[in-house]
């Protein structure tokens, strides 16, 4: 059914014959995007979760400008509960928890974006190639995927990061990206295999299109919503992995992150001293971001998949 031109597309196609053949396609996608937007706007899950993520992003961007000092500077008396001057209180050493929190949020978004993005790219490449090419290449890539899937990669990361002393956010994100991809590759491989034998792909192959163009031009666009959901989940995973690494003291040594805040709070007995303002905000930040992403995923799934829509 989806292959039939809808009535409103017809005039566009007749008008645009002078344009390159690709031209009508983006315009038809606007129609589909409009349909998605219509359902996305009606979905409360997407609205709320998107609002939370954007609000936190805003805090991460604007927050650092609200105070003129850095996250690790000693700015006031130690162990102060939240007050009008120190919104989230201070640490044992007099660092401003609010400033640490906003900088940590920024680091979290960065790791999620870079780590999740890199994992998506690797996962897509492996998944597409294995699923489309098949044969021995598929066997090999599938074996690789399964091995990386079964090995506790977080433990590998811990050992690697413990050895590599130069630690920055970027390195951490790259390490995470290089190990978090396997399940995405497996899922995309399965999707690609189901698309591989469809008529339009056969047709593209008959016209002599190269493998790369078939994958990027025919297969990927037909599972773009799926790829987007994959990226969202990988984003959330990267955030959780980074928090774990930071918590055991393997995070960036030169900055601050939400996991590192929790690590410091535990290390300096904030639990026993009742300094709840030190360890509550970083956890809430992570839960809000990751939880919103998970909920957004469910909502988007309903938008992209008409069978799940509630009318």
């Amino acid at each position: 059914m989806a292959d039939l031109p809808r009535p409103r597309d017809v005039p566009e196609i007749t008008v645009d014959t002078s344009l390159p053949p690709e031209a009508p396609r983006p315009r038809r996608r606007v129609g589909r995007a409009g349909e998605f937007l219509y359902f996305a706007a009606r979905d409360r899950k997407i609205f709320v979760s998107l609002a939370i993520v954007l609000a936190l992003l805003l805090v991460a961007i604007v927050g650092p400008f609200l105070r003129e000092y850095g996250p690790n500077e000693y700015v006031g008396p130690g162990m102060q509960p939240p007050s009008s001057e120190y919104w989230f209180g201070t640490t044992t050493f007099g660092q401003d928890v609010f400033v640490q929190f906003v900088h940590g949020l920024g680091a979290t978004f960065f790791v999620g974006l870079v780590g999740g993005g890199l994992a998506s790219i690797i996962g897509m490449t492996v998944g597409f190639v294995a699923g489309y090419r098949g044969g021995w290449l598929d066997e090999l890539l599938n074996m690789l995927t399964n091995v990386v899937l079964v090995i506790p990669t977080l433990m590998v990361l811990i050992v690697i990061v413990a050895y590599v002393n130069a630690r920055g956010l970027l390195i951490e994100a790259v390490f995470i990206g290089c190990t978090a991809w396997p399940w995405a590759a497996r899922a995309i491989r399965a999707q690609t295999m189901s698309l591989r034998s469809r008529d339009f792909v056969d047709l593209a192959r008959l016209t002599g299109m190269g493998t790369r163009r078939i994958i990027t031009g025919e297969i990927a666009p037909n599972m773009s919503s799926y790829l987007m959901l994959t990226f969202i989940l990988l984003f959330g995973n990267a955030v959780l992995i980074a928090a774990t690494l930071d918590f055991i003291g393997l995070g960036p040594t030169d900055g601050i992150s939400l996991g590192l805040m929790m690590n410091n709070a535990v290390l300096w007995s904030a639990l026993q001293l009742g300094m709840w303002w030190w360890f509550i905000p970083p956890g809430i930040g992570i839960v809000l971001i990751v939880g919103s992403l998970y909920v957004m995923n469910v909502g988007l799934d309903q938008v992209f998949n008409p069978r799940l829509r509630k009318l």
């Binding site: 090995i151 413990a162 050895y163 709070a265």
Partner: protein, 328 residues
């Protein structure tokens, strides 16, 4: 049947081989020769340095060709020799791990099994029940999005520090020595409960959500609709849906194992619970690389074994796999 398990076994052997190779490679590609610097830190204690150098020459021995180093590493590994811990010198790494292992297993095994069982049951129960579903969904998503250590921190703070119901550090009271007494067992249980609860809750949320989504999917499937159009009782349809839905959940358990184990490790750190996690944290702080690498190998072996067990269970609960093997 034999072919199926032979394939699985081969795969796990390959994975183990890869993991050991990675374990061997990391120190060699790390910049600045951290192993030598680690050993030079103990140079003040001559006998410590001598023991270190001994192991170092045996497994890292840089005067032999690289393939020989690799073989040496395997030889000492298969002999159970993972080197000497620097932090806990002169204890061998294997001893340290063997002391810590029971605590981690006592935490991990009940938490994983109970969370999986209870989460699945509850998720299946809540699916398609309007009032429950509305509560399960947000709660479940919040629990799965919670970093393990943060839930542990919250529980330790609320139940341990504010209300002082449970102790929050160690595996038993500081005034006790391990003995077969009721007092010691009680103290052990008391210290065990909070880390267990925190691990259990995160897992519970995830499995409940997964099961709920799967059940809803299964209840929409043709066989369910056909059954209900025949007038079959809701309970029967749900029991069929549950049987189908637990297969992907089982696969999910296998895939999640690595994450769960790491979750247990950071939970131990929060509660200073003397299992593998707390020791690896100490190993990181004290730059005791041999101990850290030894723990890594043990975790790998544990995860691989657990995967194999899940494969066995899968064969038992999925009649298609079972019949396919018996018929073929």
């Amino acid at each position: 049947m034999r072919r199926y398990f032979a394939r699985k076994l081969l795969f796990y052997l390959v994975t183990f081989f890869v993991a050991v190779t990675i374990d061997w490679l990391i120190p060699r590609f790390a910049p600045g020769d951290p192993v030598t610097s680690m050993i030079s830190r103990v140079a003040a204690q001559p006998e410590a340095a001598a023991a270190m150098m001994d192991y170092f020459n045996g497994t890292f021995g840089l005067d032999v060709p690289i393939w020989q180093q690799y073989l040496n590493f395997w030889t000492s590994l298969l002999q159970g020799d993972l080197g000497v811990s620097i932090w806990l010198f002169p204890q061998p790494v294997t001893r340290v791990i063997m002391d810590a292992l029971p605590y981690t297993l006592a935490l991990l095994v009940p938490a994983v099994l109970l969370a999986f069982w209870a989460g699945n049951k509850f998720g299946a129960f809540a699916a398609r029940k309007r009032w429950l579903d509305g509560a399960v969904l947000p709660l479940g998503y919040i629990l799965t999005a919670t970093p393990y250590m943060w839930l542990a921190i919250l529980l330790a703070w609320l139940l341990g520090s504010v209300w002082q119901v449970f102790p929050i550090a160690g595996a038993y009271g500081f005034n006790l020595a391990p003995a077969f007494t009721f007092q010691f067992a009680g103290s052990l249980l008391q210290h065990w409960f909070l880390p267990f609860l925190s691990l259990f809750l995160v897992g519970f949320g995830g499995w409940a959500i997964g099961m709920r989504n799967l059940i809803i999917y299964e209840l929409d499937a043709d066989y369910s609709r056909y059954l209900s159009s025949l007038g079959a009782p809701d309970k029967l349809i749900r029991s069929y849906a549950y049987k189908n839905a637990r297969l992907p959940q089982l696969t999910g358990l296998a895939l999640q194992l690595g994450v769960i184990v790491t979750g247990a490790l950071v939970t131990e750190v929060v509660f200073s619970y003397p299992g593998l996690g707390w020791y690896s944290y100490q190993a990181i702080i004290n730059q005791d690389y041999f101990l850290l690498q030894g723990i890594f190998l043990f975790v790998v072996i544990g995860v691989l074994l657990a995967n194999f067990v899940i494969d066995l269970v899968y064969v038992m609960v999925d009649p298609r796999v079972r019949l396919g093997m018996e018929g073929g």
